[in-house]
Amino acid sequence: MANVLVNAPKTAKKGQVVEIKALIMHVMETGFRPGTNGRIIPRNIIEDFSATWNGREIFRMKMSPAIAANPFVSFSAVASESGIIAFRWSGDEGFVAAHQVDITVT
């Protein structure tokens, strides 16, 4: 199971800009490094990260082999309505991880 740490406010005022942070455990193996046996270790990275607010996409990024292990992403969004912020990571070797948090907008 994927190991994820998300930090988003539980409550916000309508129209407020909120900061959202997401950290995930992942090796982000570049595909350029030789292993101890001299052979290249196959690439194994997260390729895509996205966040939705009540199903509507609010953030998306493509990740590359130059991103360090255990990628940390921070972004902001305008609080529009109460509901669910959902996060999804996907990448090489069939990697998929999902996480969601509730937010109340008043």
């Binding site: 190991n3 998300v6 930090n7 360090a68 255990n70």
Partner: protein, 256 residues
Amino acid sequence: MTGLRLAAVLIAVFTASFALAQGDGRRSGYQDMSPALQKMQDDDTANPAMLFVQAGASAWTEKAGAAGKSCADCHGDASSSMKGVAARYPAVAPETGQPVDLEGRINLCRTTRQLADPLAAESDGLLALGAYIALQSRGQPIAPPGDPRLSSLRAEGADLYKRRQGQLNLSCANCHDDNAGRKLAGASIPQGHPTGYPIYRLEWQALGSLKRRLRNCVVGLRAEPWPYEAREYLALESWLMVRARGLAIDAPAVRP
């Protein structure tokens, strides 16, 4: 500003600088990091070591071994039972009368209490439990026990610390006492205090133990690192803790 608030601010500033500097010139590696890295360490949702803490917290409650017991079954809530523990290891294990470091102590419970296999040195499982236990000592002063059975080990450590070794023919003290605060290529040389272990080291892109850190320094001297189970590490760790007595634990730390 009211007098009361000014006094409160002054007290806060005074205690903060006392806690940081101890008034005797000793500095934790945290203070030698850039503000950006300090911020990364301080924010529990940006510090990647917290992913391992999360894994350690769940391992704490998992039953393991022939005894079918979890750490929590015997130790309960880690936030109280493990508070201050990381600040006083290496210590003598009552069962064996022998000194162990925190990883050794965890594995002693694995093998003698849970009747399970020991966790491999530097494995994610051992590091995660170590990080979770170390977190419970955050802010606690390093307090090596006054047990006389540790004296010879500490003396060995102090001696190793001062002994020149490797092709570079340098001692730990040459860097961490004589040249601390100066630069070694791009890196600044810290005083070498073990306040934050296990650490998330950016160069490793992983969590690692104090032993791994010491191995890096030994390799840096172009000396042959001792095997993981060698007494030399236990001796150095014991001495480093005495040398850092009173400095606050900031585990699990981020280091460059």
